[in-house]
């Protein structure tokens, strides 16, 4: 297994960094994270120019598909590129927002926000696309992969505040759950006194109205020759990978995905669709995680240990996703162990969240799907809703609290209360974006300043990756499954990407890119222009090459006429084209006529064939000409393309058409010199008929 070799080589390359976090390899990520304090890089001027250029293209209406003849010249260059510009998630985790341009369509993949910032930097910089005014003219389609805020958090801001009315796609469960999380985020961030927030409740509602839901596998036609299709991604309920096709260019965006099935979701899957570009997340691109079973055992052991000593366990989770998985785990475990500890679920979201799982059962794993009509696994018996008064309640308890990165809400509130007591424990089960309390805690910071009050965290801190992201093995697995021509890494730390990129390039031999925020990657994708071929053309070629060798077949030239009409290209036989257009073929025939004197010695065609065989077909490197003796006084070369005939008066007539000028001139010069020689030496050399070579054919 190749991927198990990663760890030693990682230690070699990033050894000093990793030594600190040697026991738990994944902590390496958090170390990398610390190095990246600064916000996104500034946009490069080039990109602004590029988008201005795109806008200009829109205004002139010069779209990629040929509408007239003018378009055809620039089309090949325009079509053969896919441009990828991350506005977020480029060498970074959080605020996923990737702009791609393929086949003249601008597509935005995800529109997330950054949890680590509290000002405008949390949103992608939409001014790159357009300085002011709505985005609708510049973006053809927005696709949201799943409902996590770092993938959809900026959506209401984009559609309502900046302005976008175009198509907007997400899966059914995402459409259902997304507004809950957005509303939750809005509540948390809106200033209580000034009522100022990133967007309003109505913005969220209006935004969700624009969403077109898609189902797994369903091919959605966005426009002519522009299709998207969702694949199961497993990460959270409704997470999807999107396959996008514009013309012949194809791209797969994985969003966040998980290749190992967990307690409530299945594993990601994709067809062998051979896309031109695969944009994949790389959150855990440098780690190989241990088995889920071991992790679950570990988790339960820690929880039970803490609870036995009367401690309180705080598990910061996001309301949907990990929460359900851990709830199922605790529920089944407690039922078996007969442990009587209160479990609470504290979330700003309503109880309803769990009902979404039963409404979208087809998105869960197979086991739940096959049994859901007998027992609803999401009806938890032991897990009770949280009440604020429980904070002061003495004794052991287990609390799942949102949000998962400890940046606001219940989890932060409980953390402040319980952190000073060393009996208590916090288990962080997922990824924490840089700058959040969660990530600081994981990086070893123990003193925090909240509202001017310093709190020292004495509680036990554990990190256990229940994150539903694919690890290095999973990412390669997906790459192998779909066999892309190029890989682009997003949604990961810079160093992790470096590592993964090395692997992809060395082992899978696929070119791999890792654009930073604001940096455009241009990937050329050689594709032809779709064209309708006349079956007769293929048939004719088949007949012509029916009895020739393979190498000759390969070198066989096809001659066709391209007819461009109303943006449609047709390749037909020249004769068909002439007929269709009402054109009359005009033959231009060249003749060379050499008089030869009969009275001395008539020239025989046999001797001419001999001559031409020698002169034309002796060179090994050139393709052979077919010389056929039709009658006593007529030779055809290459299917009547050139005729040599002897007239009644003994003149040698060579006739060829315009297309065979080279051959014609060559043949005529050979024959001319032959005749000259012949007449001068006719008396001396006697060419015997018996010496004539047999018919070459």
């Amino acid at each position: 297994m190749v991927w198990f070799e990663i760890i030693p080589s990682l230690v070699l390359t990033a050894g000093p960094l990793l030594l600190i976090a040697a026991p738990t390899i994944y902590i390496g990520n958090w170390f990398f994270l610390n190095g990246k304090k600064y916000g996104p890089k500034n946009m490069m001027k080039d990109d602004r120019d590029y988008y201005m250029y795109l806008r200009d293209r829109r205004i002139t209406g010069n779209e990629y598909y040929p509408r007239g003849v003018e378009a055809i010249d620039e089309r090949p260059t325009l079509m053969s590129d896919i441009r990828i510009l991350p506005l977020g998630a480029g060498q970074d985790v959080g605020r996923s927002c990737i702009l791609i341009t393929m086949g003249g369509k601008n597509i935005m993949l995800d529109c997330g926000l950054h949890m680590g910032f509290y000002d405008d930097r949390r949103f992608p910089d939409f001014s790159v696309i357009c300085k002011d005014g709505p985005l609708t003219p510049y973006i053809h389609c927005v696709i949201i992969s799943h409902f996590h805020l770092d993938h959809c958090g900026a959506l209401p801001y984009m559609t309502e505040v900046v302005g976008y009315n175009g198509p907007l796609y997400m899966t059914y469960p995402t459409k259902a759950i997304c507004p809950l999380l957005l509303e939750d985020f809005r509540k948390v961030t809106t200033d209580k006194t000034t009522q100022q927030g990133p967007y309003t409740s109505d913005d969220i509602k209006n935004c969700m109205k624009k969403v077109i839901p898609v189902s797994l596998g369903q091919t959605v036609k966005v426009d002519t020759d522009f299709e998207i299709k969702a694949y199961y991604a497993g990460h959270v309920l409704g997470a999807a990978m999107f396959h996008i096709r514009v013309g012949q260019q194809t791209l797969v965006y994985t969003g966040d995905f998980n290749t190992t099935a967990d307690r409530h979701l299945g594993s990601a899957h994709i067809d062998r669709c051979r896309p031109d570009v695969l944009i994949t997340e790389s959150t855990y691109g440098s780690t190989v995680r241990d088995s889920r079973r071991a992790r679950e055992r570990d988790f339960m052991a820690k929880v039970v240990d803490c609870v036995r000593h009367g401690g309180k366990v705080l598990v910061p989770v996001f309301a949907v996703g990990r929460a359900q998985e851990l709830c199922i785990l605790l529920e089944t475990y407690l039922e078996r162990m007969n442990l009587n500890v209160p479990i609470y679920f504290a979330s700003g979201l309503s109880e309803k969240v769990n009902t979404y799982y039963s409404l979208f059962v087809s998105w869960t794993n197979e086991k739940i799907q096959s049994t859901f009509h007998q027992k609803n696994i999401f009806d938890f018996k032991h897990i009770k809703p949280w009440d604020r008064s429980y904070v002061e309640q003495p004794g052991a308890m287990i609390v799942f609290a949102s949000p998962g990165m400890l940046h606001a809400g219940y989890s932060l509130h409980l953390f402040k209360k319980w952190a000073p007591d060393e009996k208590n424990m916090i288990i962080i089960p997922g990824y924490c974006v840089a700058n959040t309390v969660g990530s600081k805690l994981l990086l070893g910071q123990r003193r925090f300043l909240f509202d001017g009050k310093e709190i020292e965290a004495k509680m036990q801190v554990h990190y256990m990756s229940f994150s539903a992201h694919a690890d290095a093995k999973g990412i390669t697995q997906i790459i192998r499954q779909c066999q892309p021509s190029n890989v682009v890494l997003v949604h990961g730390e810079d160093l992790v990407m470096d590592f993964l990129r090395g692997r992809v390039q060395d082992e899978l031999k696929i070119p791999c890119y890792k654009p930073a925020n604001g940096e455009t990657v241009t990937i050329s994708t050689p594709h032809g222009v779709p064209v309708d071929i006349e079956p007769g053309l293929v048939q004719q070629l088949k007949e012509e090459t029916a009895d020739v060798s393979r190498s000759e077949k390969r070198s066989k030239q096809m001659r066709g006429t391209l007819i461009i009409k109303d943006g449609r290209l047709r390749l037909v036989r020249p004769s068909t084209a002439m007929n269709e257009l009402g054109l009359v073929h005009h033959t231009v025939q060249f003749h060379s006529r050499f008089p030869s004197s009969i009275n001395i010695r008539p020239i025989t065609l046999v001797s001419l064939i001999q001559l031409l065989e020698r002169e034309l077909n002796s060179n090994e490197n050139e393709s052979k000409h077919r010389i056929i003796l039709i009658s006593d006084n007529l030779i055809h070369i290459d299917n009547q393309q050139l005729r040599v005939s002897i007239e009644t008066n003994g003149d040698v007539d060579i006739a060829w058409t315009l297309n065979n000028e080279l051959l014609g001139q060559r043949v005529s010069s050979h024959i001319k010199s032959f005749i000259d020689q012949h007449t001068s030496t006719a008396s001396v050399i006697i060419i015997s008929d018996s010496a004539a070579s047999p018919d070459p054919m």
């Binding site: 839901p213 096709r245 039963s358 859901f372 064209v531 079956p535 066989k556 030239q557 006429t561 007819i563």
Partner: protein
């Protein structure tokens, strides 16, 4: 392409389509038309009054003792012959076709797959993939389970042997003695099989591939299938097959025009334009399709389902006001969801409170749970509900408020009397044929009181025949079929004004009711017909052109198009025709195609420009094809230069240049091509 038709009943569609040597089975329903020949059998623990019915006496001619032979399995009731045995089924497969060769099975809805376990049981080598939608799969599975458990109950009640089926004497003598008593079932007697088991069901369903509406499935490189919503029930679909006729591949390249080399075959099964709870019927992609196979239309011509629905509510209201109970035999899924909501709404309107609806079926709870999980398959309106976290159907609410009571048991004991059912009540249960399931006891109990009523909302069976074994009955009896499928008038509008298929394939029964149209070629079929579908030529192959250098297309203003000459190699790679242009400029230049006529005057000027003077120009009076055209430019002209160093003869369709000097020849050629003759 051939279509093999396996069924004689258009409402029991079953076909095999063969394309490029691949066999595609379209639907495999379970025929249940013979069920009425059976006697009803109550569940264990109930009084079985049918067991004491007189046995059929066979007058044997050749036996030594002239005693009539009694056949335990054939009973006489109301002077009619009935079969007294657990229900058995026959299937539509025939020995004429080797079903183990089937590659693909496409299923339209959960009503048309119930015989599949038999297929996988009979043909062990069959390794076909079954493509169906998720609701079809889930409900289909439940319906099979229901069937299995009902028949299991029956076989607990009576033990029979099936020797009689293989005794030809019996059939002969029945024919002789009482011709009018011949049963429909007899023609299938030898083919009858006992019901499949749960294991058979599971084995069959392990071959399932679940698809979504509009998902493009590449069956083989030459066929692409997609399920298109038909609106009839949850997950019901029509199948659209795109078949490449020119070569064995469906190109991923889509042409911008309507011209593509795909032939579109549509298999239309139960569809409805009515808005019910399921996703709308969509036929946009069917327009101008090449083949349309039409089946499963509504039996009742021009009957409006909504009229019967209003009448139904009126009848129910009457019975309930009369303190009676209503029995509605129906299928355990489908229409029933509409009924629940429709009736509750109606009761609220007329202020009829405390009505209890009972839903009795072993799969009642499962079906309600499944229907609520299918939020992606319902109408947009109901989808919106699921986005806000409420299930698409109101079952849960109804159950909570005790309006709807589910009894998920496969039988009703005698002890469970109707008194236990809170009056007034409406009872939904099966089976439709009234031959097995809880409905048998319920009729036995309810038929005594004239205040009770039974309402038939399904039209698969004649209700008179269905009720025959139960006679005499006192309860009221109504026949108000609700069939939402397309009827002929709707289909005719759809066919002639919208879809306009090139070829229409229908059962011969439908021929009289389909309005003929010159543009539609109608093919009719009968059972075991093997139709060769008329082939359709497509004039183009999809390919792709790889241009290396710029093409300089020539604009032809008269026909508003542009043309360009292409020289290259034509390859087929990964099922795509690829034309790679040659780089060679030389060969390109020399490969000109010339067309049009030569303007002699211009040619002469061009010649003089390139230094060729002293030309002798002579009009030729040659015979020309264009005799009528006397224009100067069409005349043949002979041009001589330098006493025959070069001789040019210009005719209307051909120009001959005779010259022995290559450099002079080049000059003449250039003069000829320069701004004169059209080149390609």
């Amino acid at each position: 392409m051939r279509l093999y038709c396996l069924s004689d009943d258009p409402n029991l569609p079953c076909f095999i389509l063969t394309v490029y040597g691949r066999s595609i089975l379209l639907d495999f329903p379970l025929p249940i038309d013979h069920l009425l020949d059976y006697l009803p059998i109550p569940s264990p623990g109930c009084v079985n009054r049918f067991s004491s019915l007189p046995k059929y006496k066979l007058l044997s001619h050749n036996k030594e003792n002239n005693l009539p032979r009694q056949i335990d399995e054939l009973r006489i009731l109301h002077n009619q012959l009935f079969v007294y045995s657990p229900i058995e089924f026959y299937t539509l497969d025939s020995s004429q076709y080797d079903f183990s060769l089937i590659d693909i099975i496409l299923i339209s809805n959960y009503e048309t797959l119930l015989a599949l376990p038999y297929l996988f049981k009979t043909y062990e080598n069959l390794n076909a993939q079954i493509y169906l939608t998720e609701p079809t799969y889930r409900f289909g599975q439940q319906l099979m389970y229901e069937m299995v458990s009902y028949v299991e109950q029956q076989s607990k009640m009576i033990q029979t042997n099936d020797e009689w089926k293989y005794d030809p004497d019996i059939f002969d003598s029945i024919e002789e003695q009482q011709n009018e008593k011949k049963l429909k079932l007899f023609s299938h007697a030898q083919k009858l099989m006992s019901c499949y088991s749960i294991e058979n069901v599971d084995k069959c369903l392990s071959h399932v591939t679940i698809v979504h509406f509009n998902e493009q499935i590449d069956l083989y490189s030459s066929i692409r299938a997609s399920a298109i919503s038909s609106g009839y029930c949850l997950g019901s679909c029509n199948w659209q097959l795109d078949i490449n006729v020119n070569h064995n591949q469906t190109s991923k390249i889509e042409t911008s025009s309507s011209q593509s080399n795909l032939t579109r075959f549509i298999y239309m099964s139960s569809s409805t334009t009515l808005e019910t709870y399921s996703t709308k019927f969509s036929y946009d992609s069917f327009l101008n399709c090449d083949y349309l196979l039409l089946s499963n239309l509504c039996h009742l011509s021009s009957m409006d389902a909504s009229i019967n629905a209003t009448e139904l509510t009126a009848k129910i209201e009457n019975i309930l006001n009369d303190h009676g109970s209503v029995l509605i035999p129906c299928s355990s899924t489908g229409l029933i969801y509409d009924m629940f909501e429709f009736l509750t709404k109606y009761f609220e309107q007329i202020n009829l409170l405390n009505i209890h609806m009972y839903f009795i079926s072993p799969i009642s709870n499962a079906n309600l749970a499944i229907s609520n999980a299918m939020s992606e398959w319902v109408t947009e309106q109901r989808q919106t509900a699921s986005f806000s976290g409420t299930p698409p159907f109101k079952h849960n609410e109804l159950i909570k408020s005790k309006c709807l009571i589910t009894i998920s048991s496969d039988r009703l004991d005698d002890t469970e009397t109707l008194i236990n059912f809170e009056q007034p009540s409406i009872i939904f249960t099966g089976h439709l044929s009234l031959r097995f399931g809880p409905v048998v006891q319920l009729i036995e109990k309810m038929k005594t009181s004239s205040s009770n009523g039974i309402i038939f909302i399904d039209n698969q069976y004649s209700y008179v025949d269905a009720l025959k074994p139960y006679q005499p009955i006192n309860m009221k009896c109504f026949y108000l079929p609700i069939d939402t499928r397309l009827n002929f008038s709707q289909v005719n509008i759809l066919l002639n004004e919208k879809i306009r298929p090139k070829n229409l394939i229908v059962h011969e029964q439908y021929l009289n009711d389909i309005v003929k149209n010159d543009k539609i070629n109608i093919l009719s079929y009968r059972k075991y017909d093997n139709i060769k579908l008329p082939s359709i030529n497509r004039y183009f192959i999809n390919g792709q052109l790889n241009i290396k250098s710029d093409i300089k297309p020539k604009l032809i203003p008269t026909s508003n198009l542009a043309i360009a000459s292409i020289h290259g190699h034509l390859d087929m790679c990964d099922y795509v025709y690829d034309i790679n242009e040659l780089d060679n400029e030389n060969s390109k230049q020399n490969n000109l195609i010339t067309y049009g006529k030569i303007d002699v005057d211009k040619f002469l000027i061009n010649l003089s420009k390139s230094g060729i003077f002293g030309l002798e120009v002579k009009q030729l009076n040659e015979y020309d094809n264009d005799v009528n055209d006397n224009e100067q430019s069409n005349r043949s002209v002979e041009i001589k230069y330098n006493q025959g160093a070069a001789k040019i003869i210009v005719r209307s369709k051909q120009t001959d240049i005779e010259c022995n000097d290559p450099s002079l020849m080049n000059k003449i050629r250039d003069a000829l091509l320069m701004n004169n003759i059209g080149t390609l």
